[in-house]
Symmetry: C2
Amino acid sequence: MNWQDHFAQRVDNIKPSTIREILKLTRQPNMISFAGGLPAPSLFPSQRIKESTDRVLAKQADKALQYGTTEGYLPLREWIAKRSNHKAENVQIVSGSQQGLDLVAKIFLNKNDKVVVASPTYMGALRAFDVYEVDYLSVECDDDGMLPESLEQALKQNPKIVYVIPNFDNPSGTTMSLERRQALVDLARKYNIPIIEDNPYGDLRFRGEYLPNLLELAAERVIYSSTFSKIMAPGFRLAWLIAPAEVLLPINMAKQASDLHTSSFTQMIVHELTKDDFMTEQITKVRAYYKIQNEAMLAALDKYFPTEIAWTRPEGGMFLWLTLPTQLDATALIKEAVAKKVAYVPGEAFFANKSAKNTLRLSYSIASLEQIDSGIKSLAEVFKGSLAKAS
Amino acid sequence: MNWQDHFAQRVDNIKPSTIREILKLTRQPNMISFAGGLPAPSLFPSQRIKESTDRVLAKQADKALQYGTTEGYLPLREWIAKRSNHKAENVQIVSGSQQGLDLVAKIFLNKNDKVVVASPTYMGALRAFDVYEVDYLSVECDDDGMLPESLEQALKQNPKIVYVIPNFDNPSGTTMSLERRQALVDLARKYNIPIIEDNPYGDLRFRGEYLPNLLELAAERVIYSSTFSKIMAPGFRLAWLIAPAEVLLPINMAKQASDLHTSSFTQMIVHELTKDDFMTEQITKVRAYYKIQNEAMLAALDKYFPTEIAWTRPEGGMFLWLTLPTQLDATALIKEAVAKKVAYVPGEAFFANKSAKNTLRLSYSIASLEQIDSGIKSLAEVFKGSLAKAS
């Protein structure tokens, strides 16, 4: 068969993730990877997970192995709700944050609808929205997040939703200031637009003060997304949405049509892990780890990088963002970096509209402290060499 | 916010599953449920699952708890491929069969495309396809499956795909004869239409001879779906697609956008369960159980039901299908049945187009043998009573 003739139009819009292609490169031996957003396996509490699994199977195997409800395992929803000062009825369990984004896109986005995103923004969100054949309005950002003037320009163009990662943004590592959060909420109210608040890294703050989530500032219009992937383990594929009941109703029906429900087994294991305040202990451990990793990378950047290159100084999360002189092309330079056994993600893929090719994302999540030092040193050589050639 | 004004058009097409609404009724105490398609929890090998989980966490925790590949865990894909005489590259792991249907719909179905289905057919498939705002062409069936003349009528109308459950159909319990399988394949070739073969129950044959899957008859145009839900446990949300590489490429990208990948943790546990030929042992046990359950229900129907009512005699699976005299309405009678503490699923919801309200689906999967006898007796009373009133 000539399958191409049979596919739906939206297939033309479905692209593979550049990150996942680059991750394949990083599987070479001795590669230092600053590319993926993989949590450090040393943080997975595998003994505790084993004990939790054993308890679930000993006491509630019939429930854990059976079909479950579409909205998710109630005790887990209650735990999530309590932590966010919401009600369980406002919590929908999803199979990873990516599914949350797909479901939001499914219920909000018609073909040619406009979606407001930061420039740059999370490429997984772009890939989720792409499937629904939308157009993007990109908002200019600085180290405090979206610039209100640029945001208002976008909101005036009648978009369907605003997508934003206020805490330790992927890819930029920046955190939206309280003032900017308030400005976003005020503008979203003025133009009556729903906000999708993606908060996978919120618990990974290792510097600075807690800032209120958009959900706290404007619960009436925020669809909030978070996940167990960064604080526990991505292998469970367990995340959640918090939203008004009127939104969760079609989300729930769309999820039923998409995968019936998320694994009862993994939900019950993770609920078991929330007991005895273990999550507080786990989050404290995860935070302390990323703080050390982050400081090591910033120290190496300060030490090896030329002044022509700028980078963000994240207060949490696992990424930082580099801006090279405009004559440098991070996409072209990835080959040189990989030849020196260092991988990163070129910034290009994180832009919905006009790309800045002189940007790139670095992750400090899984490299060892020694690797961070030597990897950043190698990268400095690559960029200095290219600068020398370009001048 | 007035959320209704913000939703996408497709939301008008997303309906809740009637089954899941009826399942809520069945949670009343002392209810005999012939409604859901829940596997019997006594069949879940929970001790073996515990041992497998412990082994995975002891030896490969870092991999099981980490992000995985979109296509799925390779050793599990290899196991599935070998069992079906295919290659691992033709196997895509999905988060339950429902996700497989959603992904197929996502890559094939434009708005107003036509989908060919049996009349009746699996309502979960209709709900998956509905989201993509399609129209249906319903094919008349008898106890041997789709009638070729009716099928050809549908295929002449330029549909996008044909969806069919050849083995122990949900809801009808019927099995497509070899002759009809060949006729379907011949017609699909003549009109150049892809076939979606849904085979969740194929391993649950307890009578009659094995018949070749459509995948074996026409690998070039079949997208085959099967699952661990009925032979192992639905709580894992683990299923697979087998298809030509050209189809799996967009399916894989669509899955990446939908949920990145299926849980590494559950995939590795289930792979562990495939070792030492345990699946053969498990499937033998499951088959033997459903045979007894099925025979008990057929015996009770023979014993209590009036000759005006007809039912199918499945060779496998967990469902059979009742046809009442046309003046009876199974949707209206569900209340009387529930008052007598027996639940079933009215047939109405299984029709894509014109419904036959005098039909219903019975599941013999979880009721005890005593409950099957007394539940069928009660149902007979409900229908006889209604027949007496109607005449």
